[in-house]
């Protein structure tokens, strides 16, 4: 099973207490991998990984329950990057790598938005979309 699609699920404070992820995982008969979760008084954000084959159905199910689904690249490296590679040593998921010519390659799909690289970049070239 390919787990490629990552999406951020945003719950408002009215639905944050509902067991939505497990409910949908059972109903859709599909595993949902939680990469991280952040719950505060405004609601919650959960980064999940979903098998590609079931992605559309599962995300629709979340939307029907009032969850805001955000699908996008989770990391951006801008033109200030000088390809030093410091971030590569900090990335736990190989979302950031250097190729043979020492050019930084970004694989947004691997990023779990841990943020370790952001404050380490001497050029301040890395951003995680809010």
């Amino acid at each position: 099973m390919k787990f490629r699609l990552k999406a951020e699920l945003r719950f408002n404070n009215r639905i944050v207490t509902k067991p939505l992820i497990s409910t949908i995982a059972i109903r859709e008969n599909s595993p949902i991998n939680i990469l991280w979760a952040d719950i505060n008084d405004k609601g919650g954000k959960v980064l999940v990984e979903i098998p590609d084959s079931r992605a559309e159905a599962i995300l629709r199910a979340f939307e029907e329950e009032g969850v805001k689904v955000v699908r996008r690249l989770l990391i951006e490296v801008n033109e200030k990057c000088v390809n030093c590679g410091h971030c590569v040593t900090l990335c736990p998921t190989k979302a950031l790598t250097l190729d043979e010519s020492h050019t930084l390659k970004v694989d947004g799909e691997n990023c779990v938005q841990c943020g370790r690289c952001v404050d380490a970049c001497p050029m301040r070239a890395i951003t995680l979309p809010p």
């Binding site: 000088v82 390809n83 030093c84 900090l90 001497p122």
Partner: protein, 496 residues
Amino acid sequence: MPVKRTVEEINEKIKRGDAVVITAEEMVELVRSKGPEVAAKEVDVVTTGTFGAMCSSGAFLNFGHSDPPIKMEKITLNGVEAYHGNAAVDCYLGVTRMDPERPFEYGGGHVIEDLVAGKTIHLEATAYGTDCYPRRHVETDITIHDLNQAILCNPRNAYQRYVAATNGRDEVIYTYMGKLLPDYGNATYSGSGCLNPLSNDPDYETIGIGTRIFLGGGVGYVIGEGTQHDPKNGFGTLMVKGDLKQMNPKYLKGASFTKYGTSMYVGIGVPIPVLNVGLAEKTGVSDEEISTNLLDYGVPRRERPVLKRTNYKELKSGTITLEDREVPVEALSSLKVAREIALELKKWIEEGRFLLTKPVETLPLNVEFKPMKVTREMPTAGSVMVKAVTCETQESIEGVASKLIEHNVNHIVVVKEGCLKGIVTSFDVTKAVALGKTRLEDVMTRKVVVAYPEEPVESCVQKMTRHDISALPVVDRGSKVLGIVTSEVLTRLLRK
């Protein structure tokens, strides 16, 4: 017949457009496949390059006079203070000085990059006013074109090689060698190995005062050995200068190191004339032949422990082996840009736009890099610690309470066979009584912030402030408890 060339002969060839120029990386391959004799015959010039954080950098700027004129006393450029200890409108802007409004994010290096990029810079200066310079305040917006001189002048650049860094502490540390993860989680290094300028001329036969170089995308000059020049250990450095107005922001970049400070990445390329077979062999130096040490930056002392001997081949491979572990390692400097610099300089020479110079005097080989003479020694955790009052994990709360009273202390270190297991404070005991807890293990802190004996007292104070605690058990690397540093001990130290 052994090859012998002079710089003048090479320059004639450059002018004719038939000088053979290759980069130091290409030279490694050539020397490896054909040997130094053939390489010396075939090649006239080897170009080098490096692009990394060089904190000992800055620029002399002259703004011209305002009317009425001012003898600047305090001056800021985009909020970054410049040093003004010279004549009325001269200053030196250092790259590590930060804008207090944007600490660790924007500093002198960023101002220099912005100047070179042609951006508008906000200048503000104050003065006490004199009979000849009556003005006491000036505020204006300028660009590099408005300045009379903008001279990059860096006291120490282009280290021949540098150490690699990792972190043995149990917490993330932020250093000038970047962000280092706990427990040897990653490693960093600096320099471009076989492309490093001074590594290609380790006996300084061709580099010295007056050597024309690629500096920040423009032409610059070596003006002598850099500060902390350490030739005997293979850590030579360069002092360089060049006209900022000719430079390119691609090769001068302000840098931000979280919780450390700002700096600037400087691009430097030095051409090495292949005057003889010896220089062909030296410029053929490979990454593997340039060795350096991997140090534990977790130990905040001048002599950081050497964890292993390594070389630039291993460092460039992406992983470094540390005992039985594979630690991810990458540069903080940019190998990609270093290569571009060596190629750019090669192009300049091939196109006849850049001629080589013979130095007036080569870099010294016999100077030493001494440590600071400190006449007032700074205390360490080991020198100020007191004996720790300890107990075992099975100790009762009452037992702990009576020890606190008996020894008149606020902290008891929990040990098992002399090794650290936890810490319990008088507050923890009070809490245990209030909540009806009877077992020490329910109230003690297990994740203890510790100090090592060689750690400076200042670093202990930082740890205590950061974690909002009032004592640090002092342990050796095997967690054996040696003593304790408490806020009472530190207060007593201050009173002395």
